[in-house]
Amino acid sequence: MREGSLLEMRGIYKSFPGVKALQNVDFTLREGEIHALMGENGAGKSTLIKVLTGVHVKDEGDIFIKGHDGAVQIRSPQEAQRVGISTVYQEISLCPNLSVAENIFIGRGKGAGVNWREMNKRSAELLDSLGIAVRPTQQLASCSIAVQQMIAIARAVDMECSVLILDEPTSSLDESEVAKLFKLMRQLKERGVGIIFVTHFLDQVYEVCDRITVLRDGQLVGEYEIENLPRVQLVSKMLGKELDDMADIKNDSAGYKDDGSTPVYEAENLCSTEGIKPFDFRIRKGEVNGFTGLLGSGRSECVRAIYGADTVTSGTVKMNGKPVKITKPKEAMKNGIAYLPEDRKRDGIVGDLSVRENIILALQVKTGFFKPFSRAKATEFADKYIKLLDIKTASVNTPIKSLSGGNQQKVILARWLLTDPKYLILDEPTRGIDVGTKVDIQKLVLKLASEGMSITFISSETDEMLRTCSRLLVMRDRKLVGELTGDQLTQNTIMETIAGGDRK
């Protein structure tokens, strides 16, 4: 091992039935550094992490860890933990029905007994030091996704680790939470902990990381010092081609004009049981608008109310000027509304079903109980969209859960595009997916809009929304507080509106 290295992986190979996930990959982590692991979906990031954490056993190659002579064998997550490797995964892997404290301490007990008071006390201290505002006795499921993620990190931090792996930890955190996390990461770095940071947020990479390792198609592209790798080059290395200038996809026809035409969808005083204030909303043919606001500001709840996903308590809705009743998803679907939900795993995919079945599901429901598609017809539909959206899957029969996150998202997008909606709602369609796919989705949104589809687009990344939306609705504290169009569509105005102009 080289001087200063904490972890070295040499010549790692790993393949799964049908896929060579890793080929001859090297990776080095030094003491006290934050090292970004970058790559598109399917580049092998997750596999590399899983090899390192013992979820998968490598086919070939050696792993060296400081303080251990020779190559170490990591065959299970327990073994990984024993050599000092802790992980926080992208998908929260805690037990929702246990308390926060139990989740922090689960599987770490040395003896048989549990000292509940001690456990709760230590949890409280830990959570306090990280500034996470939850009671240790609270049930995990009652916390928001963001908080659950923070708890997962707290758990990993509390374990004595020299290597901390953060796999997409920030995808469900808002900015202040991200800042807290970064603060924590820097603290750990000073203590000499090596952090492997997997993320899709380029800004975040450039904010905290020291080095970047880029993977592509299961192979190593290279390792770079952060200051020697400008963003554009990073992106082109990840994609393996020169990137179209991202600014190019800025909506040319961006100017939002209230042309007085009948809105495709129009709601007045819409309100649901999820605690949002009644709001008015309308969208015209070919328009792309978006809800923005901090996490928990009610932007998702608004679109859920539009779709009838939550129980609608009041409001009148018109589609193309005609009053309609939308209280259930089915009614929304009948009226040509499609909704891609925020939480892909919980609300989007039907994990065990095949890609084909996942793609046809919505259209099938719309078509009717007594009119199932033939297998051939379903395959035809699926194949069409697999090609159109470039979904990477072994076959249409593959269960969707074995696809990578970005490809799962594309399958769900395909599901809704197949229903040929008039109005498409996309809630965080780009969360947790790679840069290439993000750009694809943004382009697709603009293309669909130019073909006459109305689209509501929600994203945590403001620049993404600026690039696609011609009108932004700003939410604060579960209330619609502003509407921005044209020249107002800048980062600064949005920030100000979110923060609230009346605040001193």
Binding site: G18, D217, G218, P341, D347, V350, E357, Q364, F369, P372
Partner: protein
């Protein structure tokens, strides 16, 4: 794209076979068949003789299996759907059969326990019995779907009370249905040498196949069983779908009840179809279906039901000591369930692939 290997292509036919869900019940059936063939080939003898009514009927161990296994196979249809959609099992089917049988007796015999003739046409009796057991199915379904009670707990109510309700329907009497034609359903229709229960089962299979082909019950129940939230957001009504599967199971129960009552023209409320719920659940498990819901393979469940009957008949045939019978059954069942576990199947298929791999290479060379 070049990295991807087609899992179904080339040399992995065997691996594919192992991965297919129906492989396990099929292999179990073959093993049992081979065992019997080696031990005593006369097991497979089928003869055509007259029964006491003077009509030719087929008889032999195999006929006994398809005869007595049919009730279980019919139940397995409903149990598979219930398992898929509600991620749990209905343990009240035995008691429900008692109720449905009791209703049938009540309608066919009226208030007289020893009527000279049937008091109502059989079809009327069956329709009333089916309505009753579908109502009880709906009762279970409502508890599971709308009140969100664990299926086993919800159906425990009827499991406990069902046989008493059955006895109460007939005032605790055990009426006997008069007439030969009622015996057709559990015996033989004159002139047809195949046992009627098997014919009824085949009809049920065809109906199920049509149902799965011409409705979306399969996709919907699986989708609901795997992810209720997603299903709801895609316009499904998970509660209604669960309820439907329980009502379908109720219908299966009524058909089974008809066969059971017809076999002896009467029933004993306390022992009729005793423990059949466990066998029905086992059939689903043997078919390689996950008992925690989601994806299912109907044919595998049905085959699983006949495997259980094959096993029972084999044990009877070899006169296994009465006290040891459950132990033998348990050993075989454990082996089958372990082999049908997805983890084990995956391992086997990988092994098969490895064994096969060198050969494939040669072929390509």
């Amino acid at each position: 794209m070049t990295k991807r290997l087609d899992p179904n292509g080339g040399g992995s036919v065997i691996a594919g076979l192992f991965r297919n869900q129906i492989f396990i019940p099929f292999a179990a059936l073959m093993l049992l068949a081979i065992f019997n063939l080696v031990a005593d080939p006369s097991f497979f003898a089928i003869t055509l003789n007259n029964n006491s009514a003077g009509y030719p009927v087929l008889s032999g161990q195999l006929i006994t299996i398809i005869d007595n296994g049919s009730e279980l196979a019919i139940l397995a249809i409903g149990m598979t759907l219930v398992t898929a959609s509600s991620r749990g099992q209905d343990i009240s089917v035995g008691a429900a059969i008692a109720i449905s049988g009791s209703v049938l007796l009540r309608v066919l015999c009226g208030t007289d326990t020893r009527p000279e003739t049937m008091q109502a046409p059989i079809i009327v009796g069956f329709i009333v019995a089916a309505a009753a057991s579908m109502a009880f199915g709906a009762f279970n379904g409502v508890l599971v779907a709308y009140f969100r009670i664990q299926p086993m707990v919800a159906t425990l109510i009827l499991f406990t009370a069902g046989r008493s309700i059955a006895a109460w329907i007939n005032n605790n009497e055990l009426p006997i249905v008069p007439g030969e034609e009622f015996k057709y359903f559990g015996g033989y229709i004159p002139g047809i040498p195949i046992p009627t229960p098997f014919i009824i089962a085949i009809l049920c299979f065809i109906l199920t196949w049509l149902m799965l082909k011409f409705t979306n019950i399969g996709l919907y129940s699986q989708s609901v069983g795997i992810n209720e939230q997603t299903s709801r957001l895609n316009g499904l009504n998970p509660e209604l779908i669960k309820l439907c599967t329980y009502v379908i199971l109720g219908l299966c129960v009524a058909v089974t009840g008809l066969i059971k009552v017809s076999r002896l023209s009467t029933i004993n409320y306390s022992v009729i179809a005793k423990d059949i719920e466990m066998d029905a659940i086992l059939a689903v498990a043997l078919g390689g279906n996950s008992l925690s819901g989601g994806k299912f393979n109907m044919a595998a469940s049905i085959l699983g039901a006949y495997v259980i009957q094959f096993l029972t008949t084999t044990l009877y045939k070899f006169d296994v000591q009465a006290t040891a019978l459950p132990a033998y059954k348990a050993v075989v069942v454990i082996a089958l369930v372990v082999f049908s576990a997805p983890v084990v199947r995956e391992k086997i298929s990988r092994l098969a692939k490895k064994l096969r791999a060198p050969k494939t290479a040669e072929n390509h060379a």
